[in-house]
Symmetry: C4
């Protein structure tokens, strides 16, 4: 009996030598299906047949998640510890709200159904490499924080500056500093939707200067994360090599 | 006889000391011509003279590719092995569909003619450095996969978020979550066409937050590939130096 | 008495073991409030109640900044040295103009009030890591200067080139070389608002070539700053490790 | 006499201990003035006074450049070698066309006047660090070439793909593959002007996939250049340190 239970737990955790990988693949596929069902259920003008398909897929997803939860609860060495762990709560949230709302219309109670999207986080469970990455980010968290503050300062000062230049020329576009902040975000991220941009010579020159300075500030964190990740990986590889005789 | 055959094979492979580089240059030029002929043949309002020129160029290209294929087949040490190798199949595809469609109109049968674009891959044949790059990418494929999954999660959650903020204000633009996904792609890649963007205060603040987090996630793979490529190249250079006495 | 004075100074500088961090948090929060008050005061159509709230918040902010200044002045070991130091002047500017303008309307005298935004720089005071970053930037300032010059040359030559291609086709958009410079900035920063872009075949091909060359030039400084920052941090860490027995 | 000549040459080359830096500053300022005069002379609706100012500035610039050229020619150790060197020809081009066109209208003969912009290259003369950078780029020129080819292949295949998806839905926008290439350039550089973008579901999904793959390919060269530059600089610094006793 304990043998069966241990085997079951190993399968659910993806650790079983034979069925572990297969169950992980199945489980992740169900998560992707659940997420796609949510996305498609927001489409307007669905035919009754399409609605039915989505509802059946939802029932299937809920069943799988509920079964997964109760099997984990039953086979875990310490069921209570699992139930109150981070992943235990995510697993519960992944099916419970949907079960409660099962009788209601698919398109109603959207906000509550949003919580189910926590399922998507389960996709990351098996990847041990995530821990490596989080560790790398944690190591440079102080520098990242500084660049976050610098970025916010650059965004704010850009907004104040462009507001001074453009408010008179485009009072309906650059209405206030908060409105100008939207311009800062769209411009310094280089998204540039085209809904708000300077038209005065002063505003354009200011934009050029801000971009020259701002892009350097805003793009540096990416370089830092990459470098930390690379050095972390090298360190891990070296340790592994050192372990070898 | 065997000498002639070996020389011919060396020329075709670009390995012949005298004619190898010259043939490679000729061959690559023909590929570029073939690709340009395809591109220009899609232009509307071509004059009969222009159409004739394109057709003649196409005939020239097919002839060269067919000759190249049969000469390789004839001079290869193991013809069958070549015929069923990756490059052997690409070489065959590069002229066979065009030969079959030779009698039909240039603008017809577009989809079949698309296969010929596999010719473009022949451009990479001579560059041994491509292997170096592919090896570098392969070494970090696990990390790249994680960032691909992270990117997809970020794209999806961004779409769900912006849909909540903008659906009511712009029901015809942010129609559904799949529509909002197009916004996620255009925004987080920083392309920002301007066909879809938030107009509510909540949607704009959400966009700012998503960009702060999302850009870091999405831009990191580039840093990883660069770093892997650099370390790969350094390793290769070091090996070469170590070989020296 | 001297004990109290020393303790007070330690608290204000964030160095006091018990109250230092708390005061720093309070101080930074007040700065953020001050900045938000400035931003919101530019919003049109504020209700009288909202205006009053902003004015009260402004009074609170000025009071805190003035108290902070005079307490620092009173408790500093060398008051005069503080008064004429960089941060001493910033601290003075952070409340004095607002005090002088206290009687006037909130929305008037905007330009003078802008000076108060120097407050935002106080956010960086506690972060000793900023010095690390500035040192890294200073180390590569020669390279950064070269890339600044290269960037300006690329921007200018792009503007001249696109002007030649597009002036005749769009005389009202690409009016002159200075107008074309705005295109250069928006394009090579990849912002691409969509207010100005080439429509001729020549102009589009020129844009493609310029982007291939220009993006490499413009994006390199980011890589340099990241690399300098990483090597600086590694050096600092190594020194710290070397200090250990 | 020879002493005066040597001193003069040292000043012009920026090598004179006392006047060298000053002359370099003056010379570079004149180049910037020349470039700005060219830019402003393309502005429409200039007043007669503004035109006169620009013409006077142009006369000043030509005089300085001509004097610089003849002084260099007279003081150079080997005048003929200088006259036919790269910089000698640039120096000649910088004033000769303008001298020939001096009598004609400022706005006429634009193309010939463009040659004068070669002056801008003189800005880079004094920076010995440019050589360092060019050497770094030269070291990875093979990799850069590969990425250039890869980029062109990605751009072309993207254009062919989007043409298949969008040609029927937007026959006036995605007219042909060459037109679609403009979309590829604007999208994969992330400029995204908004003049051409997919509207079909298939085209949008294709764009998402292309961006995921393409951005990695296109952004890598920047990382490579940065890395080469950093390693080059480190090597140079190490050599300098090794030279020390």
């Amino acid at each position: 009996m304990a043998q069966v239970r241990n085997n079951l737990y190993a399968i659910l955790e993806g650790a079983h030598p034979k069925w572990g990988r297969l169950y992980a693949l199945f489980s992740n596929t169900v998560i992707v299906v659940a997420v796609l069902v949510y996305a498609f259920s927001t489409l307007p003008n669905l035919t009754p047949a399409q609605r039915l398909t989505l509802q059946l897929a939802e029932v299937f997803v809920i069943t799988v998640f509920a079964a997964d939860y109760f099997l984990r609860l039953g086979s875990a060495p310490k069921p209570l510890k699992y139930a109150f762990s981070f992943w235990g709560i995510i697993d519960l949230i992944a099916f419970l709200p949907a079960l409660i709302l099962a009788g209601t219309d698919l398109t109603s109670a959207r906000l509550l159904r949003l919580i189910q999207l926590a399922r998507i986080l389960k996709l990351t469970r098996l990847a041990s490499a995530f821990d490596n990455m989080l560790a790398a980010v944690r190591e440079i968290r102080e520098q990242l924080l500084i660049f976050l503050i610098l970025t916010l300062i650059v965004l704010f000062l850009s907004a104040v500056g462009i507001y001074q230049f453009e408010h008179k020329a485009q009072p309906d576009v650059f209405v206030s500093v908060p409105h100008a902040l939207w311009w800062s975000v769209a411009t310094l991220s280089t998204v540039g939707y085209g809904d708000i941009y300077p038209i005065t010579a002063g505003g354009k020159i200011f934009t050029a200067v801000i971009l020259l300075i701002g892009l350097a500030v805003i793009a540096v964190p990416t370089g830092l994360i990459s470098a930390a990740l690379v050095s972390k990986t090298n360190a891990t590889n070296k340790e592994n090599h050192d372990d070898e005789p």
